[in-house]
Chain length 96, copies 10
């Protein structure tokens, strides 16, 4: 089941650089694990912004919520979730 997520990141100015770096490294590893597992289907950077559009493929809303709230940068993110379904005109087997 697919969900479209927009993530906007706002890291506070006063977070120490070392902590920011560590958070970003953990975020990257976390994201790549989920991408490799197939749960995090797509991630694209929005040009000129510290934000991304992502597509998740999960078994339930519950699972989606666990994945999103587990993001190391979650406390500094604003998320917008949109449920997707297969488009009747789609020709791609895996965009369901």
């Amino acid at each position: 089941m697919l969900f479209h997520v927009r993530m906007d990141v706002r890291i506070p100015d006063d977070l120490p650089a070392a902590q920011t770096d560590e958070l970003k490294a953990r975020e990257k590893a976390y994201s790549q694990d989920l991408q490799r597992s197939g749960k995090w289907r797509h991630i694209w950077r929005i040009a000129g912004e510290y934000a991304n559009y992502s597509v998740f493929d999960v078994d339930s809303v519950e699972e989606l919520h666990q994945l999103l709230t587990g993001l190391p940068l979650f406390p500094y993110m604003q998320l917008a979730v949109t449920p997707l379904c297969r488009h009747p005109s789609s020709v791609r087997e895996d965009d369901r």
Copy 2:
């Protein structure tokens, strides 16, 4: 080069049903041709709305504009275009 597009469709109530059906059939054929050519990478229906999120892969903004304004339903659509680029955490080779 990738662009995220949200398409909202509002067909006027007074458009004759036959014309609507013909437009939708042409829209579907047009979309599937572009999907098969690789230009229209993804299309997902937004649940509960007559709207979709799509991702296009084009050589230029000019080409994107030609593809979008050529949509049979374009006169009845509201489009929002967002330029994308590869996310530094992405592990998918083709989400560039």
Copy 3:
């Protein structure tokens, strides 16, 4: 799986009264069938508006989309869908 849906209805002024009545009767029957089947968990009128808040319990986003676009009044509705999950403080077994 639960989804929160806000439905706003705007029936055009020039729709003949008989057609409006027939649509509303079909809408009511359609809604009550789904409520009895357990798919449409809750529906409340928003005071002073031709609108409702509803909660659906479905097996997939696909099923939700089919139920919503099958609404007899769907062409005259604006829908906003929000995926829900069980709240960690909830004590109700069936609000999952």
Copy 4:
């Protein structure tokens, strides 16, 4: 009498962790007491957000206001209250 409430929580970054934990524990107990008493009918987490949709069943607006402003996290919440009434299509006896 039913009221729909959306609660968005924003705990300041500089609140000490111990104080945050204590607030959350009190919030959970407070919520569960009200749920068991039947005053707080439903609570669902909004996927991907530190927010919930709730439905309260109270005897008066006054009572609702007392319950909401008594929330331990109230100083860090933004609330939106919508009065509900029974939907003419509802088949559930207790969604009045």
Copy 5:
């Protein structure tokens, strides 16, 4: 129990003048009956707009909804309802 209501009226240009006049006359009579009964506590015109701020005093949300949807101009109105309660600083006995 008090509710604050903002009413914005938009009568379509093509409604025949006689029908408009009859609707407005019925609206006025309906409003004045409710004012005299004490249900419609206050009504003020918003300067420069075809809109008003009103305060209703009702026994339930259900009753409020019946009163509002019974307005002769209801099909041409946009309503926004806000539940009120007594302000702790109020000195007026009847602003409860």
Copy 6:
């Protein structure tokens, strides 16, 4: 002359509790004096929010501005002022 005012209060988290208490006490006394004088006609709490709807009866916009900027909590308030006039359907002599 009547003016409708919505007041939203946001007291900063780091204001010392003693100072907050003193401000609120002065605010209450200030408000009650104006209510007794007839200048501050109505004040209602908006359910679930630290906000109120009020109606002022003043001789001039100048007087209104003096009363509002004199509020002890004014530095922490956001105000929205709407000029009112007697509604042609009103039956209350004093809602002019």
Copy 7:
């Protein structure tokens, strides 16, 4: 007493040209009479829009409402009224 008013005009496409011309001529005469009487202090066109910013000098909100709703183009206008008062830094005697 001064009020700032923004007026946006939207004349429907299907209003006959003769009727539009007559309305505009009456609007101009009405405006100029009020300007000469001193009630309509200022009127400026907003560049590139069919809209103006105006300042009225009236004895009461009631009078303002009468003047505005008497505008021949009022049925096709959207108005936003803001009460003004003398600025403490003003050096112009008549900007009170």
Copy 8:
């Protein structure tokens, strides 16, 4: 050439009172000099807000920008600039 400017002032809570007073005194002197020179045509306080509507009469956009960014309170202001021109119905010679 005339420009309409809305200025909203937000002085941070933690600015020392002496610095605030000094800024306000300089702001007032700066404003009054420009008013006397004819560059700052009008300034009105918006009732109930720390904001004003102003009209500037300048020789160029460049000059306007210099005047506005020279305001002592500019770092704490949000400005919205709207270019004006003479209204075809205006009877005031100097509202050009």
Copy 9:
């Protein structure tokens, strides 16, 4: 003097095709004349929308307003005008 203008075009569905074609031809000729004269400095299509961003170079706001309201498609446009001035970092002599 430079002004940034966003133009959004909405031609009504029921305008006869011949009239639409004639309007667009006149619009193009009008635009190209002004571009050649140097008054209409830049015009770019916004990708995927029937809209453009333009930059005008005029001697006064009055002249800008005359040029914009003279657009053959003006009755079907929504315009947003922003005054520009030379950026202190600009190295282009003619972006003044």
Copy 10:
């Protein structure tokens, strides 16, 4: 390929003046290098705001994103990117 970018700058009040000055100097040098290279086609100050409208000419969205996120003031900016294409009415060879 052209992109329209609006940049709004908000430098925090508590950034030391020396650091602010150094950032601004680097920002200016960075901008002027890109302008001279032809990548940053236009930059205009928005009158009365700490903001600019710019037009970039890049080979890809990727390049645009690198240029924008490399801005010394990027951490304190809000950016909005709009893809442009040649307008069919344009007569300027280089506004493609």
